[in-house]
């Protein structure tokens, strides 16, 4: 059976305000995710999914303290879920990153790519967004102390791997 109902009420979910939010933040969320995941396609898919969920419950998301953080968190969790499913389906460890951005420091880019996803997410949010440890913890659903330890380990590893 097919769903045939079209519901005009649903599309009137304050699209004007959501549209503003979408246009202000969508590209940034996508790019931060792409750097984190090393997978622009998955980043775009995850951002779209998170934005769709935000739209579906826009009045609630908008009323929250950090809608952009909410979208990032949903998108990140969605991406993690997708990666887990890929891993289970393929019955082997998570694939290595499939994209590395061209930069003036390819050695550093490669070292960042070799970080675990957990560590890379902390590094990217902390450095690119300059978020506090508490904000990063909230965005990733981990304890602030975990943010601190992951950041410390990630920086130490980068120090070791990058040729100064």
């Amino acid at each position: 059976m097919m769903e045939t109902m079209s519901d005009p009420d649903v599309v009137e979910l304050r699209p004007d305000r959501f549209e503003t939010f979408y246009r202000q933040h969508r590209d940034e969320v996508y790019r931060v995710l792409a750097v984190t995941l090393r997978d622009p396609d998955l980043a775009a898919e995850s951002t779209d999914e998170a934005m769709a969920r935000a739209f579906a419950r826009w009045s609630s998301v908008r009323a929250g303290t950090n809608p952009k953080g909410w979208v990032y968190r949903v998108a990140y969790n969605y991406a993690i879920d997708r990666l887990r499913r890929r891993r289970r389906e393929m019955r082997r460890p998570m694939e290595p990153p499939i994209w590395e951005p061209p930069t003036p420091r390819p050695d550093l880019t490669a070292a960042i790519s070799r970080l675990s996803l957990d560590h890379r997410a902390v590094v990217v949010l902390r450095c690119l967004h300059d978020w506090s440890e508490a904000d990063v913890a909230a965005a990733l659903g981990i304890a602030p102390g975990t943010v601190k330890s992951r950041l410390s380990r990630a920086l130490e590893r980068l120090r070791q791997e990058v040729t100064q």
Binding site: M1, E3, T4, M5, D7, P8, D9, V10, V11, L13, P15, F18, E19, Y22, R23, D27, Y30, R31, V32, A34, V35, P40, A43, D48, E49, A52, R53, F55, A56, R57, S59, S60, V61, G64, R73, V74, N77, Y78, I80, D81, R84, R87, R88, P101, P102, T103, P104, R105, L108, T109, I112, C127, L128, D130, G141, I142, A143, L155, L158, V162
Partner: protein, 287 residues
Amino acid sequence: MRLEELAMHLRDEMASVPEAPERLQEVTEMGNRRRRGRWLAAAAAVVVVTGLGVAVGNVLQPRGGIGVADQANGRLEVVPGVAVEVDESLGEIETINGRLEIWSGRQAPPAAGDLDLAGAEQLLAEGAPHISDDGLPFSDSPIIYLGEASSGSVFLHGRHASGWDRFKAIFGEQTTTDIVCVHSDLQGGCFIPNSDVTGGVFGEGELGESLVAVSIGLPSETAVVTVTTDTGEAHWQRPVSGTAWIELGDQSANRVSITALDRFGAEISTHEFTLGPVQGTTTTLGA
């Protein structure tokens, strides 16, 4: 490696990310489908409701009436009939080859992955997932439907082959003796559990704009129902506890036809109603 140096490099990386075109229209359409899907998923979750209701009954003693929180003992009475929406920003319930557990009480330390750390919480119910065989993409659904409860917190644990995820749902206040509202951090909704009232508008926020619940005592072999209104709108859903939901749109519909189908798609019965005027949070049904 200094943070400033790393930040500068990451900004270079960010600038080199390939452009991705805006997809605002597609995103809003996805959002609309998701919103609709929440209610369709509600109907399809009958197995979860009944399954968990039985499981919870093994742990808690029903007192009658709408679920009562016994905070002193850290437990919650749970009977079938209410939808709980989880905070999906925390992730999604994983049910494939997994288990679903319901916990109540104080929040445990957030170190996911070790059930021993959930010490302060009390296990209310657990069961194998009754979700995955409904033919609907539950793994994509942000909603898990439980039994009914009133105030308090319920924590949902989805355990799966590669670990487990943890979610929290907040149960809101009981607004009347017939209508219970349920909240998560992000969304809320109201419902009428096992009520003599034959219809009622779901009464809160976005969810309350156009939904009517209709308890019609569907045949037990009902697998799905098709709901058609005289405005030409129609959709299908799986009923929960003999209750179907009608989305009224702009509330201009006057008549509704509900056809029950068995699992093979054969028509079992058809029920036609006239919708009375919406008064407060309820409406009436006529033949």
